[in-house]
Assembly symmetry: C2
Homo-oligomer: 208 residues x 2
DNA sequence: CCCGTTACTTACTGCTGGTAACTTTTCGCA
DNA sequence: TGCGAAAAGTTACCAGCAGTAAGTAACGGG
């Protein structure tokens, strides 16, 4: 009676091979569910809750996306994709202006704000393995940034290692500023973006 | 027989009020033990292991330092103290030079390398509460940096909010660069420090 | 001499990540 | 047509961890 599938009638929650031999609940479905749960319950969400939201049981989650570290990694990829998408227009031009940089940072902040809990889930790695997993989000965001940097500044082309270090540094700066910014509401995104842009563009001593 | 205290003979591991009514195992003792455990077993160390290493039981740990979040916070304070101490000489002068900035960053990197596991433990917040707890390390490192920044650049004095944003940004940059740097050993601290210093000093476009 | 306080331990709960083993359905093939 | 193999999922479990309640031994003041 009340033990029938409650979540979604379209997916089969009972064992056995489905018609056509195709997976009813695929990886994307589980990741969507994970996002909903995290958005609703916060960054401390469990895999169990994700499974329930997806309308399946835990082993399915492990089969589709792997363990907790893999889930965080997959969600990091989603978030970084949104980051890249949101900031793409700001980095579009051939040459970079301070205005463009500011808009890049502001878009970054807004994307974090729009995905607050997801951001905290992804950046808040749990174990020692996942602590390094934060680099995963960084690396993904870093790749396009590295290319852009190489275009901007000729000196980077002479020493390619610089671009990588800079990209990680900038991503780290943006992550920390984002984390600090979303915990307080008395500053606008424009204001903070302008301040960070000023630092990254003109350097600590400023233009003389 | 073999159930006697095995760890340290000087501390009393049996219940009852000790002589003189003074605590035998104080907060610092527990924090020292926590550091040893984390250094030995990595960032995934449990409170149970900390208690064993300290020669006491778990409730003692909770009484002395609180829960896991409090432990991470206390260790973050220790680490940031070491950071400040190691970088103090680099920031000593009245005016800042790029060389001084480079040495500041390099000292930062070396301190992280010397406290690798501790750094990963502190920055790798576990739950959603502790995710914001990474700000704790940042804020502690930020405070002296903010003061220094205010001295360096007059424009900051006009808008005090800038210093805070910059300090968080710089700390985030250093944390991410550290995390990236300690996972690969084909770059020297000097090299990376010089590259990040160049970015922070001259800005993205560089000095023309 | 004894009782309250202090300091500590034992023993537990609740939850989470992860996995082994079992069940049900479908499909391929004789 | 019937039957075994494979696929898809569930149930039921384990180990480990954070955190806590309740019990116990030693000291000190009246």
């Amino acid at each position: 009676m009340e033990q029938t599938a409650r979540m979604s009638e379209s997916i089969s929650r009972r064992p056995g091979r489905p018609l056509g031999g195709q997976l009813v609940v695929d990886r994307e479905h589980v990741l969507d569910a994970a996002e909903r749960v995290i958005r609703r319950d916060g960054a401390g969400s469990s895999l169990e809750a994700v499974a329930v939201e997806a309308g399946v049981t835990k082993p399915i989650v492990y089969d589709r996306v792997g363990g907790r570290a893999d889930l965080a990694d997959a969600l990091a990829e989603r978030l970084s994709d949104r980051m890249v998408l949101a900031t793409r227009t700001a980095l579009a031009g051939e040459t970079l202006s301070q205005m463009g940089l500011t808009r890049f940072i502001e878009a970054n902040l807004r994307t974090v704000a729009d995905n607050r809990e997801l951001f905290l889930y992804v950046t808040g790695g749990s174990t020692e393995q996942t602590a390094l997993g934060r680099l995963s989000l960084a690396e993904r965001s870093t790749t396009p940034l590295t290319k852009t940097l190489a275009v901007w500044r000729s000196s980077i082309q002479q020493d390619p290692g610089v671009a990588e270090a800079w990209a990680f540094g900038i991503v780290g700066m943006l992550q920390m500023v984002s984390q600090w910014w979303i915990t307080q509401d008395d500053r606008s995104a424009e204001e903070v973006a302008g301040q960070i842009s000023e630092l990254l563009w003109n350097g600590l001593p400023g233009r003389t």
